[in-house]
Structure formats: structure tokens, C-alpha cells
């Protein structure tokens, strides 16, 4: 008996045939309230669109309004490997083949022919500033050539395996693009330097592999990012921008061991990044080259 009563109240709530009510409202009542909400939400959506439209009008197409987070540009390597770990076996082609492919892909826009076709040669060691004159935009902006051959042994032109087969791998380092960034002052170009990374092995116990890294070569010379590639004007104004690169080649790295390497940008104009951002102005990765099958 009790159960029936319960059931009927629920049923009554969902569809009350006596008052012709569905969920406590009649059809016309539902209609009215839904119409009200329809109008209400259309109005709200309209207001939302309006405010968004106004907001979008305030934006500059060529430069973001703020660059609060990009004070220190990030750094990245190619190939990235898996979670910044590059490990392969020299004897097993398949283990490093993907790195070669990544690099080939990554470097293909830097082929000298392409660069010559799209970009121009600039005066090195000084900023390539292409200012707008007032409201008249000086667009499209030109970009400087960064030829693949600048990477010399790491260009993959002579050695198609970028030294991977020989156990002398090349890692290409790039500095994240940030619009308007001038990475060095007084004509001093920023450069990359790589070394061992201090890493924790136990409580208050730190270790670094500086003796195991061996000799490192930088291309272009000294691992500099030439100032002529800066500032960057954004992908809309500077369509063919070629990001400058630095390649490092490990000449006699200790084999069959994990080696932690950290590369950082040295510049008199880039603030040191936050402690929490491991990729601001520096990049660290692990390298392991196995030789035994």
C-alpha cells in the first residue's frame, strides 16, 4: 500500500493526467517558461558575442597585447626523443632512424635553395629592424636566410646520419620564437653552451656527468644565434621567418651510459627564467648511446 502511494506520487509528478501536468507544469506553462529562457539566453549570447567582438577589435593582428609569460624564451632540442631522452643503439639502425627522419624533416625548410628563394641575405651581427612608419605597416616583412649549411657537420648534407651511426650525434637547439624579442644588447649575440646537468641521486647527493660528455662542437661557430635574425615580427607579418638554430655535436661522449646534459642560452639581455620552468632559457636532456647489441 505504501509503495503504491509512493509510486503514484512520482508518476503524478512526471505526468499528472488529472491536471495534464508534466513535471509539475502544464504544456502552456512549459512553453512560456522555455520561451522566456530562449529569449533570455539569446539575449545573453548576443551580449557575449558583442563583448567578444569588442574585445577582438582591440587586438592587434601583428603583435599580442601582452607578453607577460614570455619574458624568458623557452629552448627546445631536435630530435626531442621520448620525454627528452635520446637513446639508441649504434648497431641497430631502427633505433636511431626516427631521429634522422625528424631532423631531415625539421631541416628541410632550411635548404639553401629554399632559403635563397624566399629570404634575403642580411647584414650579420646587427638587428634586422623593419619598423613601421606610423600607421603604415611595413608588411610583409622580410626574413634573413638561415642556410642549412651553417650547421656544417650537423647539416645532414655530408653525413646523412647526423653522426648518429658513428656515436657522435648532433642535437639541434632552437630558441622559442617571441615577437619583438631582442636577445642581446651592445651587439653581443647570445650563444648556447652545453654542459653536464647536476642531478639528484639521493638525499642531498648531487652528481654530474661533466667528465663523461667529452668534446662538444657547436655550429654555427660558438653556438651563437646571430642578431640579424631578431626581432621576430610574428607569423602574419613575417611569413617566411627562419628560426636560427644551433647544432651541437658530441664528439667522444661516453658510451653505454646515461648522460644528463643541460644547454643554456648565455645572453646579456635575457632574464634567467623561473626556477619552476625547466625550459626557460635552458634545456636539459638525457643521452644514451649503446654500442652493444
Amino acid at each position: 500500500m505504501a509503495k503504491d502511494a509512493e509510486k503514484s506520487t512520482w508518476k503524478d509528478f512526471i505526468w499528472n493526467s488529472r491536471t495534464r501536468e508534466f513535471c509539475g507544469r502544464t504544456g502552456s506553462s512549459w512553453g512560456l517558461i522555455l520561451l522566456f529562457y530562449l529569449v533570455f539566453y539569446i539575449f545573453l549570447a548576443g551580449m557575449f558575442c558583442l563583448t567578444m567582438y569588442v574585445m577582438l577589435q582591440t587586438l592587434d593582428d601583428y603583435k599580442p597585447t601582452w607578453q607577460d609569460r614570455l619574458g624568458t624564451p623557452g629552448m627546445m632540442i631536435r630530435p626531442r626523443g621520448q620525454a627528452m631522452e635520446i637513446s639508441y643503439n649504434t648497431t641497430n639502425t631502427e633505433t636511431w632512424d626516427m631521429y634522422i627522419k625528424t631532423l631531415d624533416n625539421f631541416l628541410s625548410p632550411y635548404n639553401n635553395s629554399l632559403q635563397a628563394e624566399k629570404n634575403e641575405e642580411c647584414t650579420p651581427d646587427q638587428y634586422f629592424i623593419q619598423a613601421d612608419s606610423g600607421d603604415v605597416k611595413n608588411n610583409p616583412k622580410r626574413s634573413c636566410q638561415f642556410n642549412r649549411t651553417f650547421l656544417e657537420k650537423c647539416s645532414g648534407l655530408d653525413d646523412h646520419t647526423y653522426g648518429y651511426q658513428a656515436g657522435k650525434p648532433c642535437i639541434i637547439i632552437k630558441l622559442n620564437r617571441v615577437i619583438g624579442m631582442l636577445p642581446g644588447k651592445d651587439g653581443q649575440a647570445p650563444f648556447v653552451t652545453c654542459g653536464a646537468k647536476r642531478y639528484k641521486v639521493g638525499k642531498d647527493e648531487w652528481k654530474e656527468d661533466s667528465d663523461k660528455i667529452g668534446e662538444v662542437e657547436y655550429y654555427p661557430e660558438n653556438g651563437t644565434f646571430n642578431l640579424m635574425y631578431y626581432p621576430y615580427y610574428g607569423k602574419k607579418a613575417q611569413v617566411n621567418y627562419s628560426q636560427p638554430l644551433v647544432a651541437i655535436k658530441f664528439l667522444n661522449i661516453t658510451l653505454n651510459e646515461d648522460i644528463n646534459i643541460e644547454c643554456r642560452i648565455i645572453s646579456n639581455n635575457i632574464p634567467p627564467g623561473s626556477v619552476r620552468d625547466k625550459f626557460a632559457g635552458k634545456v636539459s636532456f638525457k643521452l644514451r648511446i649503446n654500442t652493444k647489441g
Binding site: M1, A2, K3, A5, E6, L32, I33, F36, Y37, F40, Y41, L44, A45, M47, F48, T51, M52, M55, L56, T58, L59, Y62, K63, P64, T65, W66, Q67, D68, R69, L70, P73, G74, M75, M76, R80, A83, M84, K174, N176, R177, V178, I179, Y232, G234, K235, K236, Y241, S274, R276, D277, K278, F279, A280, V283
Partner: protein, 1018 residues
Amino acid sequence: MFEMNGEVDVKMKKKKKIKKKDRLEGMKKEMDIVSVIHKTRRRESWREYGLTSSKAAEVLERDGPNELLPPKGTPEYVKFARQLAGGLQCLMWVAAVICFIAFGIEFSRGTLGCFDDLYLAITLITVVVVTGCFGYYQEFKSTNIIASFKNLVPQQALVIRDGQKNQINAMDLVVGDLVEIKGGDRVPADIRIIFAQGCKVDNSSLTGESEPQSKTPECTHENPLETKNIAFFSTTCLEGVATGTVINTGDRTIIGRIASLASGVGNEKTPIAIEIEHFVDIIAGLAIFFGFTFFVVAMFIGYAFLEAMIFFMAIVVAYVPEGLLATVTVCLSLTAKRLARKNCVVKNLEAVETLGSTSVICSDKTGTLTQNRMTVAHLWFDNVIHAADTTEDQSGQSFDQSSETWRSLARVAGLCNRAIFKPNQESLPIPRRIVVGDASETALLKFTELAIGNMMEYRERFKKVVEVPFNSTNKNTLMLSVHELEDPMDLRYLLVMKGAPERILERCSTILIKGQEMPLEEQWREAFQTAYMDLGSLGERVLGFCHIYLNENEFPRGYKFDSDEMNFTTSGLCFAGLISMIDPPRATVPDAVMKCRTAGIRVVMVTGDHPITARAIAANVGIITEGSETVEDIATRKRIPVEQVNRRDARACVISGGQLKDMSSEELDEALRSHPEMVFARTSPQPPSSPPLIIVESCQRLGSIVAVTGDGVNDSPALKKADIGIAMGIAGSDAAKNAADMILLDDNFASIVTGVEQGRLIFDNLKKSIAYTLTKNIPELTPYLIYITVSVPLPLGCITILMIELATDIFPSVSLAYEKAESDIMHLKPRNPRKDRLVNESLAAYSYFQIGAIQSFAGFTDYFTAMAQEGWYPLLCVGLRSHWENVHLQDLQDSYGQEWTYAQRLYQQYTCYTVFFISIEICQIADVLIRKTRRLSIFQQGFFRNKVLVSAIVFQLLLGNLLCYCPGMPNIFNFMPIRGQWWFVPIPYGILIFVYDEIRKLGVRRHPGSWWDQELYY
């Protein structure tokens, strides 16, 4: 279902009643046995020697101390655990566990930002524990109030042990102890009297009888409550001395048992508790429903199980109003504090609101409606009835005191009086001084003290020679005394006499008129009769006074007056006048009753007094209004038998205890329904079926929310049964205070009205507060919905939500409790607990789907602004989630071709949280402003009248700024210092909220009852 429940309930009640009766019977039997045992052990030597100390210590060890223990409650840890295991709390526990699991997994992966989950889990647990502690503390404090009351009166007892009289702590009394009590003492245990001299006790705290009961060693009745030889624990000995043996101590005393009976009566859940429970269930249900739906959706879209669980957790956190319980508690305790300042101590916080929905108040007469002190109300002399000043503070008009008769009358009243002031009270105003003596003598003493001056000195001047007191044994209804005269040259004796007027008149042959002795002719007798009837019909206790100067020759100085032989003139006296006394209503009561009436609350009076007195007081305070007639009145007016009167014509009704006993519950319901003005008089206070309990049950059957006031132990079952029990702080017994939800420290009925007003106000304000609190749940929830479905970077984090719920929005929501009433709430009917819910459909719909929706749009506008201005266009954001949250992707391109590391994106995400947070805050400021009123325009209510609210808004803004700009915040609470411009983005939406609500209120005001009003008024 409901019917069956009802049946079960009735059965249960019956069972309980039977049990109670059984227990009471058992109690009686036991008492008899005890008395038999003691009779056999009675020996003369023991009577003087008492127990030995060692024996006493032994018994104390066995029986425990002689004190009333509070009814055994649930253990403390269970109470605490219960605070932690509510519906919402359980949800939060689940959320915290999910956070811990997520933290564990992410930590093992070494993800940046995995500690957020840990913080979140810790915050969630802290929230649950802190609110739990808060609730527990409230509960703890309410029990503490009782403890403090108990400690107010440290009791001492005069006990005879080892043949020596000792003053010991009453707690150490044991069964068999010989104790002495004297006037003014509280009886320290249940005592069988073995010797008594003029001993009278006041049983009012136990049985509600206001008349003092005399105690003698004879066993006069087999019922321990009726017999004369047992005095009860906690009653007061008014006069005389008595010696007795202790027969019961502590919880085994009659009072202890009644208290424990009372604790057996089910406590009704308060309406607000029902409201909140109902509402929390819905919220918890919806949270789980939403969470689960999105869990399934997320799984379906292809998120990992862990991610889906985190979504579930986040939705629970977003949807559950974490701050709500704290807000409600704080609002209620604020009101409780406000009430405490007005002498209402609220034990049970929720009772504050119950008071507001009260529709019937069952009020005790003595002490609550009246001052609980006999006061001279009228005098009849010189053939005129004079009204005396009965106000508490003697602020009223006095009568003409120039007549010579008045001086004689006052002299009789002053001299023929055994009451005396307790010493050392000169600093107190006369009405407040403590007097030893019975009620009417006290009244006369205070009256004469006020009229003549220092009575003690006055009596010194008229030295008392002999006196014959009222004596119940020889049925003497008169009291007389013989005094020497003030003037030492006048050697006559003055005999003064007072007593029942008709007996006094019998003894008189002359009457004083304007100071002249006139023969008592028929004309004067008739005048006397009329005056006597008039005063009697006012429900007043009338005493007659007469005097005579004894013949100097017959009774010379040194004459041996003998009070037993009565060897002196006691007739042919000179009648001086009548004085009538009443326990006058408190000055504030008529006004308060009037307020109750306009507020739609019935006041029902319940008293042990005579129906005539009860009616007179009821009429005096307005419980029976002018022009209202009882059935009997109509019968006399129309000169027809009572049976022929249409009961519905009579607005008022006085029901005596005897009639009440014979009524079935249906008849009582009918009586309560048909007569709006009810007085229950001469209610015999015998537990367990005390009349208040029956009346309360009847009112509750009629659907009323009943408040009951009471002070006696016998009231405690009714206090507990009532929706809100109100105990008297001064007159109330501990048992009553224990059973009550509220305590009136000044025993004043007017305080109840204040309580009602505050209760109604808090109901309105809680509604506003809850509406405010609920609104932000939508802008907290929508970011997740959008995040999951459209895959934008997360706009609002869980910790940010908790900061809104628990930090910035708490103060504004509490400040709404200080909002003034929109209209005169005391002119409205009490709310119907079935229809006027705290959280109704339109409140939820308006908060969630209208204001909440506007706030969500505000948040998203600001979110997209912050993203776009930093380089992420809205369209790029859509579907960006998987890249955005890829920990290994350190060069993700934005709309301008710039490349971002993961950490840079994460801090950008925190910026979004902050921006969304600020949007909600700005909108909530608009929200708190619109919630000030539900119907009136804010311009009518005033922007700045609620100072607390203004400061709450300032506080909210300051706290928002602190969270945004305090260094270190990004890594603790995920707040970033945001651009000042982003504070202004949500302002158009804030204005929209404000304007829209003004339009809504305008519509509601202009078109009451319209579709707009029905759908949009909450």
C-alpha cells in the same frame, strides 16, 4: 506510505505512554517499599545520631553522588564523527580521495603541478574537518549552557551524621542520611519527613502547583506525589523546619526520573533542519548526477579513467556549495547572539528560525505572562475601590492616600503580617527584595513598605504581644495579632485581624468611613458584597481587614494573652477595608500579545490557577480580547442553557483541567479549531500526561508549529515535544532548561516576540544568503563542462573554486544576515512550512539559470579576453586541450607564431583561473547587492544602510587583490597577478545583473500574481 508511518507512530507513542505509566507505577511502588523499610528501622537513638560517616561513605560509593546527571547522550566521538559524515561531507571525502589517488599517480610520473592535487585534497579535508569542528563546537556549547546553569547554585545541606550537625555539599548526601531543612532551603534530596513544624514547601518546580504545600510526618496518601510526608528534591522549603531521612538521591529521585522520562520523548526536527536537509540532499544528488554524467561522457569521448575521475571530482567540488553550511551556521549564530543580548539564550541554533515560523505559542501564565509575585492590586475603603500601582517599577499612578481610613487599613495590613525582609537588602528597590513569608503576606509587606515606609521599624513601634497565625489544622482562616500602641501614654492594646472577607465581616459591628467608625448597617454590607464580588470577578485574591482597640480596663498592661485559649475579644470589631491581590501581568505582555496577534500567532494560556483568575489575566493581557465571549458568557447573556449555545459563536474558551481530562483528542482538536482564544486553567500537573503535552500534540495535529514555554520539571516532556521549547531562566528547573531549545533569561514573554521577529527575519535573510551562495555554483561548474566538451584550456581550477567558496564569498553571504526586513514582517502570517520552502524552485531556477548564467558568460568573456590578449585567439583555444596539457611540448605555437613552454602555458592557465575568479567576484558584488531585497528596489532599501554588507564588499575586493598580487600566490593557490584591465571586463555583466534584477523586482511589484511574479519571485 505516510499513512502507515502515521500508524506506526501512533503505536510507538502508545507503547511509550504505556512504558511511561509503567515506570511511574514502578516508581510509586519503590517509594512505598523504601518508606516501609525506614519505618521498621526507626529508632529514637538513630533519630538523633544519623548515619555514621563510614556508612555514608559506603553508600555514596554504591549510589554515586546526589546530583542530576544530564540525560545520557551519544558519546562525544560519535557526535564529532556525525559532523564529519553528512551528505555533502561524504561527497567531499570522495573528492579528496580521488585527489590523493591522482596525486599519487601524477607524482610517480613526476608531472609538474602534481602538488596541486595534493593541496586540493588537503584543502577539502580541512574544509570538512573545520566545518565539522564548528558544528561540534556549537553542539558542545549548547550543552555547556546547562552545565553553567547547574553550577550557579551550589547546594548545601544540613545533615546529621555521627550525632553531629554538619553543613555538607548536597552532592554527598546518601540514602538514609538525616537532614534538616528550614525556610528558604532547597530540599537536597527526596526526603521522608519524620518531624516537621509549620513546614511548607513550594512544589511548583516539580508539579507546577503554585500553592505552598504543608509537610507533616503523617502518610496521607499512597501516591508519593500526593502524600504529605515526602518532600522532593529541588523543591523549596518556604517556611518552618523539618527533619527527614533521605530516601532517594540523584537520578533516582522523582525529579530525576521525570527528567529522564522527558529525555525519552522524541525531539521534533526543526523546520530549518528539514529545509536544509532536503536541500542538501538535492544538491548532493545533482552533484553526483552531473559528476557521473560527465564521467561517462569523458570516458566516452576517450579520456583516460584517471582523468575522468578527476573531472568527476572537479564537478563535485564545483557544484557543492562548500561555504553554505558555514554561512547558515554563522547567520543563525549571529541571530542567536543578537537574541542573547535580548535575554533569549538559544541552545539549539536552528531553533532561531523555528521561532519565526511559530503559529501557536502555549504560554505558561505564572512568571511568563505575569510577574510571578503577588501584588496588591485594589483596595476597598471608604466605599470606593482604589486601584494600586501594580507595575514592576512602581511607575504607575497611585491612589489618594489622604483618608484616615487608609491609615488604619495600612496599619492593620502592616502589623497583622508575619512576613519579613531578608536582611541586607537596603540597596535593592522594594519590589525586588526577597521576603520570607507566603505570597499574600509578601505582597502586603511590600505594599505597606512602599506606602508607609520602613515596616520593620514600624512594627517595632507597635510591639507585638501575641499572634494567632493562619492555621490549616484548626481551619482558622483568620490571622490576628495584638499590639501595644505607638504612643507610650496610650495603654490600650490594638487587635488587628485579617482573613477571608466574609469571615472578617462576621466579626465586625462597625465600619470605618472617612476615619469615622459607623455602625455596620445593611447599606454597608451590600456595598461590601458588591465590592467583594467585583474584586473576585477580576480573579483577585481578596482579604478583609479589621481592628479594635481593646478596652483598657478589661485588658490592662501585662494582661496574659493566650493564643490557644483566645482569652480576648474577637468580635464586634471595626471593619477597615478590603485589599485584593493578584499576580499582575508584566507591563510588556499586553503589547507583546498584541504583536503576536498581528503576526498571526495564537497565544494559548496554560495555567494551574483558578479559571476566573486565569480568565481575568487572559483578558488583561489580551489573550482574550475585549468583546470576546466564552460559551458560558453567551449563555448568561442570552439566558439560555449552555448546551444551546452555538460553540462557534464563542471566540474565547476557558477549559479547566478536569474538562481537559475528559476530552478525547478529537474534541480537543475541535475546540482548538473553533475557538481562536483559548485558556487552559487549573490544569493538574500530574505527569506523565501533563496538559501542555496534550495541547501541544493537538496543535501539531492541526499543522501548527508550536512554541511552548514552561519552567517546571513536569513541563519538560511538552518542551521537548514542542517544535520549540522555551524554558524560563529564572524560574525554570534544570530539567526544563535541558529539554528546551531556548531559555528566556528574564522569563519575559515579550522576549519571545523579539525572538519571533528575529526568526522571521533570519528566514528571509537566509533565503537571500542561500540564493547568493548558490548563484556562483554555475559559473564554477560551466568551466568544467566547456573544458570537457570543447577542450579549451581549463578556465577555473578547483583550488580557486574553494577560495571563492570559503574565503571571498563567506563574509558577503553572512553580511546578508544583517539586512533589515523589507516589509513589516510582524504583520504577515506565519509561513506555511509545507508551502513556503527555504529553497524553492524559483529561487534555484533564478539563481542557477539566470544570474548564474550571466556570471558564467562574464567569466568566459574575461577568460577569452585574457587568452586572446596574451596571444591565444578564442578559435585556437577550442580543441587545444591535448596540446596545451602536453607536458613534453615546450614549443607550442600561439596565434601569433610565438612558442610557449609548458610552464609558461601553465602560468597562463593560472592567469585564466584568476581572471575567471575576478569575474565571479565582480558579478558576486552585483549579486550581493541585488540579494539585499527580493521585492523592493534597492533604491528603496538603501545601498549603504547595511554597513556590514558594505564592509563585506570592501573586504571581498581587498581579499581578491591580496590573492592576486601577494607574492608567492602563483605556486600556492594558483593565483597570478593579472592585468588591471581584466578587472573591468566583467563589469558590463555586473551591471546587467543589477539592471535585470531591478526589472524583475519592478515587474514583481507592479504585477503581483502575474506570470512574472510567479516565475521570478523567490
